[in-house]
Symmetry: C2
Subunit: 181 residues, 2 copies
């Protein structure tokens, strides 16, 4: 898919808690994958379920999205900074997405950070941008979705995932799935 | 807020499971509230935590968003149909949002349905529209967020919530919250 060849977008999910966040963290990465991000990283509790769940999704539905665990978010942020990535932290306390999205579209390599429960102050200062998707408490999944939708201008919904075993054929009523084994 | 005076958007979350979905269902409704929906309904397990959590959010952050439990999704769907609501089911198997959003913007009263684990076939036929936000498995939170963002054309991010006790003042770095008691 053309988007993937020229851009490299990662999502860093902070402070995963294996009991409480299992499904939210999985939704974060499923959303990242489906909407055009290339990889995911999480800190907090180690959790193979997330890594395996996303690997299985990619095996069935295509593409090469992968998730890794990191033991240290500062190291991860600095590692990507050194590779030339812009660090964009999504937070309800940041600057409005509509004021910054044109500027952010210029960057082809971005590490998006989404919080867990309590985001350390350091994340706000280490980030190149702190961006809000609304100023209300809602969901890191929603914030990430709207960010990617704005960043890719809706084109992310047309991504074709290579080597998919299952492909949906849109229907007015019901489900139709093509098997491409 | 002007959006709320002329439109009535509800979100029906199907098949809530109190253990597994607690946080996802809460994120669904927080997202619904933050992005301009007016009320929520859920079926499946009864769960006062969700109702109380959203009531507390509205008490602190303003507005009048409320969540109710329904014991029967068919009754709920038919009830809203009889009130003149269009029923829009968000599903990865439906028709692409980009092909239908202009038509859907004409409707001022909409009940959006988002799935739980297994959506009964009946939901596809009872719904006036089955709409996909991408054809990949991702998240009902993400699908809802992008739907509302498209429906309100981004204006939902500027909603002012009446009688808020806390209001965020956007910052380049860090947090600033105004207390309006």
């Amino acid at each position: 898919m053309f988007l993937k060849n020229i851009r490299m977008i990662g999502v860093l999910r902070l402070g995963h808690r294996v009991r409480r966040d299992k499904r939210i963290s999985t939704h974060v990465f499923l959303t990242a994958r489906a909407l055009g991000a290339n990889f995911g990283v999480f800190t907090g509790d180690e959790d193979d379920n997330i890594i395996n769940s996303l690997a299985e999704t990619a095996r069935i539905w295509g593409g090469s999205f992968k998730v890794e665990y990191s033991g240290n978010y500062v190291n991860t942020i600095n590692e990507f900074k050194n590779k030339g990535f812009k660090i964009v932290h999504l937070t309800m306390y940041g600057l409005p997405i509509k004021d910054k999205i044109s500027e952010l579209k210029c960057f082809k390599d971005i590490l998006l950070i989404v919080g867990g429960a309590k985001v350390p102050r350091e994340v706000y200062t280490l980030s190149d941008y702190n961006i809000s998707v609304g100023f209300q408490p809602h969901s890191e999944v929603a914030a990430l979705a709207i960010f990617l939708h704005e960043y890719y201008e809706g084109k992310e919904l047309d991504i074709k995932f290579p080597e998919a075993r299952l492909v949906v054929e849109p229907q007015e009523k019901g489900k139709k799935v093509l098997k491409c084994f």
